[in-house]
């Protein structure tokens, strides 16, 4: 079916409206639908259903923010995400993370994991946190012109990096 507006592209948005007891059907391509402000309500309804009201809107904003991204490992696209409310593979979380945070905010307590960490990851994570902490302390010490502490922290950081 061809888009009824531009009569060029394939129609991918189909909307049936009932207003004043009259049925009005619209078949448009994605670009024209957006221009004429006909979005596909069904695609978002699924997201709303799955993730709670308001999620679809957030997701739409999110997908606009990430543009036409797709996952280079599994080929998942933002359209897939919008439609199913699900992601394709572990790597998708890196690809879509920019838009994802606003979606996660609507459904979770926080957008950073707290809780169980795989045993193998634990030491690596603790190491990273410790290094961050040392660096922070070093900046504070320098800011306060406490050079004695700064020197000690610098040595600690050096030793820590060497031990890894």
């Amino acid at each position: 079916m061809v888009c009824q507006f531009c009569k060029l592209k394939e129609a991918s948005v189909h909307v049936t409206e009932i207003a004043d007891n009259k049925v009005k059907k619209v078949d448009a391509c994605a670009a024209c639908a957006k221009e004429k402000n006909y979005n596909d309500p069904a695609a978002f309804a699924i997201a709303d259903h799955l993730l709670g009201l308001g999620a679809a809107q957030k997701m739409e904003e999110a997908s606009e923010a990430v543009g036409a991204l797709s996952c280079n490992q599994c080929g998942y696209t933002q359209a897939d995400f919008k439609k199913s409310g699900r992601l394709g593979c572990a790597h998708c979380y890196d690809i879509f993370s920019d838009g994802l945070d606003s979606v996660l905010k609507t459904m979770h307590k926080d957008i950073r994991h707290r809780g169980k960490v795989p045993a193998g990851m634990k030491s690596a994570l603790e190491g990273a946190h410790r290094l961050q902490g040392l660096n922070r302390d070093l900046q504070v010490a320098i800011g306060q012109e406490d050079f004695e502490s700064a020197a000690r922290l610098r040595d600690e950081i050096k030793a820590f990096k060497a031990s890894e």
């Binding site: 799955l50 993730l51 490992q73 599994c74 998942y76 897939d80 199913s84 409310g85 699900r86 992601l87 394709g88 593979c89 572990a90 979380y93 890196d94 993370s97 994802l100 979606v103 996660l104 459904m107 979770h108 307590k109 926080d110 957008i111 950073r112 994991h113 707290r114 809780g115 169980k116 960490v117 795989p118 045993a119 193998g120 990851m121 994570l125 990273a128």
Partner: protein, 371 residues
């Protein structure tokens, strides 16, 4: 061995008991886990799904925590009836029952650890316990998860935690839930208030078979919705606290009904007893709602020493797949035939229950009155 032979019969399954089991039928904790290198099942190609299946099944099966005697099978090897029985036992989801090649199930002898392979995520590992035992269920499944992590690498990010197909499970991947029997709150018309209050605390209230199902037989499922940003222990403790409050409200609702409207209560219980013992055709919906009142009667001592396991057995045996299984021909029954057969089964078993004794309620009221 078929899963039907592996599972203990309903009479035995319903003997399991735990703390607060007058109100809390069962506790469950499940974790969602995925392989790092294979796309999630919903998006993967058949070959990838089978790869995940072939990687995971042997690892799960060889977990020493599950014991020697386990049931492990690919979903395409299970007849539709067997899958439905697993759903009715709350061991697998309705979604998983629809799966075929590339998906599997592993269940231990005690029927308290059940793993779904390639449901929405590569692994859904769950621990089940009778009564209110969320902490015990969490400890058990935490151990299974840790043991699995020594064998396979799960998708995990420092930022988002365990990665799942649906972002609603992200982070801990934990779903903590309990199945509650709340006839008192339903009769007192307080149930909607409770549901709203529980929802405000970020918990979901659902029907008998989870998402999108009706609360048949006054059975409700309470579970967490948020999985990211809060450690597992905190989630378990929070739900535990809420459940203890719901239990208290249910107990109070029962007490106040007994004190203020014993006749209404007896009417429900007596009619349930009458219909279940004398009907010749009954739908599962009607049966479950009546069995709920029978169970309430047992809880309140109206039926002498009748054990609650008997009403729980009626409840389980009234479900379509269990009915069909009990039928001499095991043939697929039409819904009309099922209603006839259900009524027969209920008549036979209800005859084992003595007549309701009104004094159990009325007597107690007099004792409790100040005069």
């Amino acid at each position: 061995m078929s899963i039907i032979d592996f599972l203990v019969p309903p009479s035995e399954a319903c003997l399991r008991s735990g703390p607060h089991d007058k109100i809390v039928l069962s506790s469950r904790v499940r974790l969602a886990r995925n392989l790092r290198t294979v796309p999630f099942p919903s998006h993967s190609k058949k070959a990838e799904r089978i790869k995940a299946f072939e990687t995971l099944m042997p690892e799960v099966k060889s977990l020493t925590l599950l014991g020697q005697e386990i049931f492990a099978e690919s979903m395409d090897k299970l007849p539709a009836l067997d899958k439905q029985v697993l759903v009715e036992r709350h061991l697998i989801s309705r979604e998983h029952a629809a799966k075929n090649a590339g998906s599997g199930i592993v269940l231990n002898r005690e029927e308290n650890v059940c793993v779904m392979v390639n449901e929405e995520d590569h692994l859904r590992i769950q621990a089940l316990r009778p009564g209110l035992q969320l902490r015990q269920a969490w400890t058990a499944i935490d151990a299974v998860d840790t043991a699995l992590q020594e064998k396979v690498e799960f998708a995990f990010s420092e930022r988002y935690g365990f990665l799942t197909a649906c972002p609603t499970n992200l982070g801990t991947g934990i779903r903590v839930s309990a199945m509650l029997h709340l006839p008192g709150l339903v009769l007192a018309e307080q149930i909607n208030q409770i549901i709203q209050a529980v929802n405000k605390l970020g918990l979901a209230v659902r029907g008998l078979y989870g998402e999108g199902t009706e609360a048949l037989g006054n059975v409700f499922q309470v579970s967490n919705q948020m999985t990211l940003g809060e450690p597992e222990n905190d989630i378990v403790e929070r739900i535990n606290k809420v459940l203890l409050q719901i239990i208290e409200h249910e107990e109070n609702a029962r007490l106040s009904q007994m004190e203020k409207k014993p006749a209404v209560l007896l009417n429900h219980i007596g009619r349930a007893y009458g219909v279940l013992g004398n009907s010749w055709s009954i739908s599962s919906k009607e049966a479950m709602n009546l069995i709920s009142f029978l169970r309430l009667g047992v809880d309140l001592g109206v039926f002498g020493k009748t054990p609650k396991s008997l009403t729980d057995e009626l409840f389980l045996r009234s479900q379509p797949a269990h009915l069909q299984l009990a039928h001499p021909l095991r043939e697929k029954l039409g819904s009309d035939e099922r209603d006839l057969f259900r009524a027969q089964m209920l008549r036979e078993r209800a005859s084992l229950i003595p007549n309701p004794d009104p004094q159990a309620l009325l007597g107690r009221r007099e004792e409790g009155s100040p005069e």
